[in-house]
Symmetry: C2
Subunit: 450 residues, 2 copies
């Protein structure tokens, strides 16, 4: 069955909320999947959504809240008391609870944590808050099933059933020693088929893939994808098992990162969607347009600075768009490839060899394009030989430099712990535009001798 | 434990291959994870890689082959006989086998399929080949566990154990009727805790999320992410259960799609990496640079066509980069947002309201930028009032039109079943450049009256 949120259903729900008809609402919504509840919430206004969240039980709404877009979730939570928020958090897995709490103001965080009755749950959430949100520590949940290597198989089953209650999906059972250090893993199947008198230490698999709390989220995704894992244990600096990341969380992370990188490359400064209001979209888009504008004004000053070209070599000006577009395209290509290489950890070889390679690449592509343009500008636009030559040589230089800049800026950013994807957007196209025109005119000046 | 491929290991393996020391090689490699085997294969040249694939048993190499980049895999397979390829395919899950076979020439496909001894496996592969590779049918595998609703729980267990042998991970057991139509699902836990005298029809859950064979891959990813599914059954047009897609395959798909979109937006025409050789990179990048070049030449013809500007209104020319950059940035922003909206299926509202919204957005952003530029061009670049006015009005027009084009081209492409991401690359920046300059000069002509 596929549940579709129809217009009629939304209308009906809005109507029932207005009537405060709690009984009917619960009847309609109690069997609805939490992801669909989330979709319904996005179709309601803030008051209606808040009403529904307070009405439905926390088990449904807690997960629905996770599915909401951050802005809407924040506004709904603002209307709930710390006690009500704590109730939602108690129902969630620790990683989701930590994510939500981190969105609240520090003051509200304190109040909410104080209202969580389950002290162990609160302690776990507080622990997770310490980690960087894009690291394994920030992505992991404390819910997992672990057994001590010294236990017997039978003794283990009881303990496991108890732990498994809280765990939505048990993929592997982790085996730890007395100091809680990760030693290996077991599958449910292994456990069920093991001889009942055996000890865990006889049957577990001592090879287990793991990550540490500081491993970057993209690295975790890469490892899980490479080894086809559905969950991966997380250990701390002392090798102690502290959490687990499941593949559904990594899928969320991968999709979010892809969207963020994509938007950054397009010069959109925050998570915005096509249906957001004018104000929100403007706020996300105008900053980058302004950066591009300043770049354009910079280019304008450069051109107006070369008065000789404006008076005596006007034909050169008609190729300014060509130079600009080429510099931009080459820069974007280079940076996109490097940014992907950094994300997939496939960037090998040292800096010097990379420098030579990009130089060579710029040269080859540059020569190809410069040759075509030289011929076309000479025969079709009737520029003189020396003018055509300056256009051609400028193109080669601009392409080579743009390729080098596009390659090294992301690497530089990455080495300084800044997201290299920043370099792929209007930032790099703007700077390439400006220096491209400067290079063009300087070369023209040198060749034409003015 | 984390397995790292060291330089020494690679050197050692190369040495052992040269020596044809099969015994030592097997000793070193038999416990190595297939994903790491794949990494080792990429570090070897073609001959060494082929040697290793023929030496190691198919269970290891089949999965390693899947992890390889397509080009390398093709070259290795070219060196294997149809029989040897068939042996690899027999070890693989049907979805992977189908993917690999589809990369071969039709003639070779025939020969390989003929060599697959397991006729059921061959039949499944042939079936999967019929589907579009990015649809649910193309992504699914035939391996799954299903039970008939009329069976008893105990009778079911035996059948299940038999089926589960071939299935790497059993997430849900699917329940079908006599016609193989999907009725619902069961978890292993449900089955284990059911009373032994019960029938399947008493215990299974009649709600089950599913997709049809024609559902687009991105839609499948969206549904699996929304409902936190780890596997989803696929049904045909008659509702019959024909396959299953697991979350690890969807994670692969999502990451590949993100890379493809990203590269398309950067104007890179095939899957290329930072460490590929010069020829491969040039082949992927030059086509788009040529498109940009033709756009630049188009812009050059336009400018040279407006001789009056070149002679009498030279100051207007200094703002050409500004106009071009702004048109490009706005177009890229709009198209990126729309393409993401299409991919996430969050584009609501009809065309007309979208038209008005983009128009309004263009107007607001345009006015902001035009105002700043008007002031700066008048006070700093000393353009006349009418010149400054034409620059300002041209900016507003260009931004509005770029926003509209950037919004509607992807939607148009999508409606005609072309990947809308094509519209986000140099294609749209180039066309925006050209019409942007044209608009600028036409407006200048109108306002300045020449």
């Amino acid at each position: 069955m596929q549940f579709k949120i129809s217009e009629e259903l939304i209308e009906k729900i809005k109507f029932l909320i207005e009537e405060r008809n709690d009984e009917e609402l619960l009847l309609h919504l109690e069997d609805v999947h939490h992801a669909d509840i989330a979709e319904i919430l996005t179709e309601l206004n803030l008051e209606e959504a808040t009403y529904l969240v307070k009405l439905l039980n926390s088990e449904q709404t807690s997960v629905a809240l996770m599915e909401l877009e951050e802005g809407l979730r924040e506004r709904i939570l603002e209307n709930l008391s710390p006690r009500e928020i704590a109730n939602e958090l108690t129902q969630m897995d620790t990683d989701d609870a930590a994510d939500i709490i981190s969105e609240l103001s520090p003051e509200l965080q304190q109040n909410v944590i104080a209202e969580i009755d389950d002290e162990e749950h609160a302690d776990h959430i507080v622990e997770l808050l310490r980690y960087d949100e894009d690291s394994a520590g920030g992505l992991m949940a404390k819910e997992l099933v672990k057994v001590n290597e010294n236990w017997s198989v039978t003794g283990c089953m009881t303990e496991m059933r108890k732990q498994a209650e809280n765990v939505t999906r048990v993929h592997s059972i982790y085996v730890v020693d007395d100091k809680n250090k990760l030693k290996g893993r077991l599958s449910l199947k292994d456990l069920l088929t093991a001889p009942s008198h055996a000890n865990i230490s006889d049957v577990y698999i001592p090879q287990v893939d793991y990550v540490t709390v500081h491993t970057e989220g993209e690295e975790v995704a890469r490892i899980m994808q490479k080894y086809d894992l559905e969950a991966i244990p997380v250990v701390d600096e002392m090798g102690r098992l502290v959490g687990r990341i499941t593949i559904d969380d990594i899928l969320d992370f991968v999709r979010e990162e892809a969207e963020k990188d994509y938007q950054m490359a397009a010069g959109i400064s925050e998570d915005v969607e096509a249906d957001d209001n004018l104000f929100k979209q403007t706020r996300a888009r105008l900053p980058w347009l302004l950066i591009g504008m300043f770049g354009g004004l910079g280019a304008a000053s450069i051109i107006s600075g070369f008065q000789t070209i404006l008076t005596d070599y006007k034909e050169l000006l008609i190729f300014v768009p060509l130079i600009q577009a080429t510099a931009g395209n080459v820069g974007v290509q280079s940076s996109a490839i490097v940014v992907q290489g950094l994300a997939n950890d496939t960037l090998k070889g040292n800096m010097l060899s990379r420098l030579f390679k990009e130089f060579g690449l710029g040269l080859i592509n540059g020569l190809a394009i410069a040759l075509i343009v030289f011929v076309i500008s000479f025969y079709f636009f009737h520029t003189s030989i020396t003018e055509s030559l300056s256009i051609g040589i400028a193109l080669i230089s601009v392409i080579v430099i743009a390729a080098l800049i596009g390659t090294f800026i992301p690497i530089l950013l990455d080495k300084n712990n800044i997201d290299p994807a920043v370099a792929t957007g209007p930032f790099i196209t703007t700077s390439n535009d400006v220096f491209g025109i400067l290079t063009y005119f300087l070369i023209a000046k040198a060749i034409l001798g003015f």
